[in-house]
Symmetry: C2
């Protein structure tokens, strides 16, 4: 097991009606609250009004219209609001995009240079406004970690950043808020959770056994409950298990103690950057092709573990048989969530494969992935999903 620092210090308030605690949660930070949200679904489902009613004693400054794959321009807009209104705390209400954007806003408020600096060099993030979140989508895990992914639409660059100070202080997770999600968001969020766990699971550290066992548990949770959430959107058990899986998949429990770069996320970031694709959809499309690309004599045992412990396949003396069955099961699972499983279906042609591949290798550190990937590898993986 590699050395690690684990510090997922977010207070999680989980369950029905936890939002009632919001005034108590915000009070220690001050009265001036930046209310960050996305396209306005929180106005339709009533959460916006609930917050207005609960926070009558606070001064709320609206920061609306944060887009999926949040843009640098939104970060700049938010940071200006924070400075202009002397904001004390950011209340991020939404999914990963709103929370990611809020994290960089929180840091950019105190940074004198261009906000993009903080994305390119996370070590520049030394101070940030406190962030409290109300989760309305399960998937990114941003509610309980320091990570944030921002897109620079000018340069078409999508990149992750984050520092220990950008971890949300409190996240309110009411599974009932997830019941009205569009089917596509439930599917994409579930694929995102699944992929986060896989990114840690497929690492070369040989003895991070407890991490792997916990990872297998979270993967099984997604396999059980994602289809149920699609079939019965108001199933509380399904929403609750997926919500908590979202946080635990990426708060460090699965990944701490296992060094090395991720494999699929860096490639997906290029798809989203160039085509504004929904992140979880891109991950689902790429994952089976990536798996088939890296399956070899050195990796087959890991795929067998994955097949036996996650998919409960029958053991066989033919290890590659089990490994390929596991990959097929992964693909079938994403398909069962009604995710389109080719790039063609989501309107992406081959014209930018080289360009995206080059940047994925550079920005994503793919040379340090479980199986190191170079430009040729990435283009092959992309072609296999075409």
């Amino acid at each position: 097991m590699d050395n690690f620092k684990f510090h997922a210090y977010t207070e999680i308030l989980f369950g029905k009606d936890q939002i009632q605690q919001l005034p108590m949660v915000l009070a220690p930070y001050g009265k001036r609250v930046l209310l960050a949200y996305g396209s306005g679904s929180i106005k339709k489902n009533g959460i916006y009004q609930t917050i207005q009613n609960l926070l009558k004693d606070f001064e709320l400054i609206d920061f609306p219209d944060i887009e999926p794959n949040p843009h640098l321009t939104s970060v700049e807009r938010g940071a200006k609001l924070c400075r202009d209104h002397k904001i004390d705390v950011i209340l991020a209400v939404g999914g990963g995009s709103v929370i990611d954007c809020s994290k960089v806003v929180a840091a950019a408020t105190f940074y004198e240079g261009p906000a993009w600096d903080l994305v390119m060099d996370s070590s520049l993030i030394t101070k940030a406004l406190p962030i409290v979140t109300v989760l309305t989508m399960a998937g990114t895990g941003s509610e309980m970690n320091k990570g944030a992914v921002i897109t620079n639409t000018e340069t078409r660059m999508k990149k992750g950043t984050g520092a220990w100070v950008t971890i949300p202080r409190t996240s309110i997770m009411d599974p009932t808020y997830l019941m009205t999600l569009p089917e596509k968001q439930t599917a994409a969020g579930s694929a995102d959770i699944f992929s986060h766990v896989l990114e840690s699971y497929f690492k070369s550290t040989p003895d991070a056994y407890i991490q792997d066992k916990i990872s297998e548990g979270i993967l099984q949770t997604v396999i059980k409950y994602a289809p149920l959430a699609l079939k019965e959107p108001h199933n509380y058990s399904a929403r609750a298990n997926l919500a908590w899986a979202s946080s635990l998949a990426l708060n460090g429990i699965c990944g701490s103690g296992k060094n090395g770069s991720w494999s699929v996320h860096p490639i997906e970031h290029e798809l989203s950057a160039y085509y504004d694709l929904t992140h979880g959809i891109g991950l689902a499309i790429l994952t089976p092709s990536w798996m088939r690309h890296i399956l070899n004599e050195n990796t087959v045992d890991k795929f067998v573990d994955y097949g036996l412990n996650v998919w409960h396949l029958s053991p066989s003396s033919d290890k590659f048989l089990v490994a390929n069955q596991a990959i097929d099961a992964t693909e079938a699972f994403f398909k069962s969530l009604n995710i389109p499983m080719t790039l063609h279906e989501v309107g992406i042609d081959q014209s930018k494969f080289e360009l995206m591949g080059k940047r994925a290798v550079e920005l994503g550190g793919l040379h340090y992935a479980y199986v190191p990937l170079n430009l040729e590898d990435v283009v092959e993986i992309l072609k296999a999903c075409a």
Copy 2:
């Protein structure tokens, strides 16, 4: 899934030589450090001297001789030291006993009444000195939670307490420190981890699936690595997995979302209170008998899950067969760790069974356990271990 608050905010610095970070960790709290430890094994293994060397710029006040099943008198002694020396931060170097004692010392320093009040009524704990720990034993999980168990030797009462403010701020976990543990401590600590997970696993919340899957993962980790740590005390992988299992078993990940009292710990606390038994040994002795006592038509499915997913038993149409095999496997596992599996072997006769049973029911809330237990139940369980 039941509503919950999760807030395991401890910073974990895990791995070889992490102790080098100690000065940086302590600095924000101040210069006056209470150095809490036990019988002095840290002097033999060199950790004491390492700390003295690292903390030359700090003022260290020794608080030695904290006993296993720490006594109220030690809490009072520690709190007096903190007040007399205007301590800024407590550095607890040891296992659960040292850390538990330090937690109540940290709170008692600010409490004007008798320290035992804080054990009897945890709501009285509103302020505490910051605590930093260096773990030298894996088992109790105290390094990453708020709980503390204190024994009042006058009244022979052993009881848990704790508040959110008593969670350690940072815990340094260097698995190499566990390599020189006496065999009995490795075994007892492993049984403690195992029991912590079982206490959460056997609850009546029907849909805390992700918690159960993670629990099964941690149980499998203990099953794999506890025998290896006994066989090869210097096996880093074994020590690392057990150390991290210790924290994750009881930081809320397994238990949050599942209400109800624990079952075995309250009974064991009486054994330790009256006979100063090593906690993990008592848990191991009690667990199989408790399992056999509560196995019935309502609980058998849970035992089958446990048998199939943790012990990898073969499925059978006879559910009770699988359940009993799982219980037998549990007992055989503890035996394989060289734990004496009867009360007789550890010098406990039947003379206090009624007395201990009565108090276990009262203090431990056994009426709210997975299968509610009354005095008769507890005495039967104790007799079955005699």
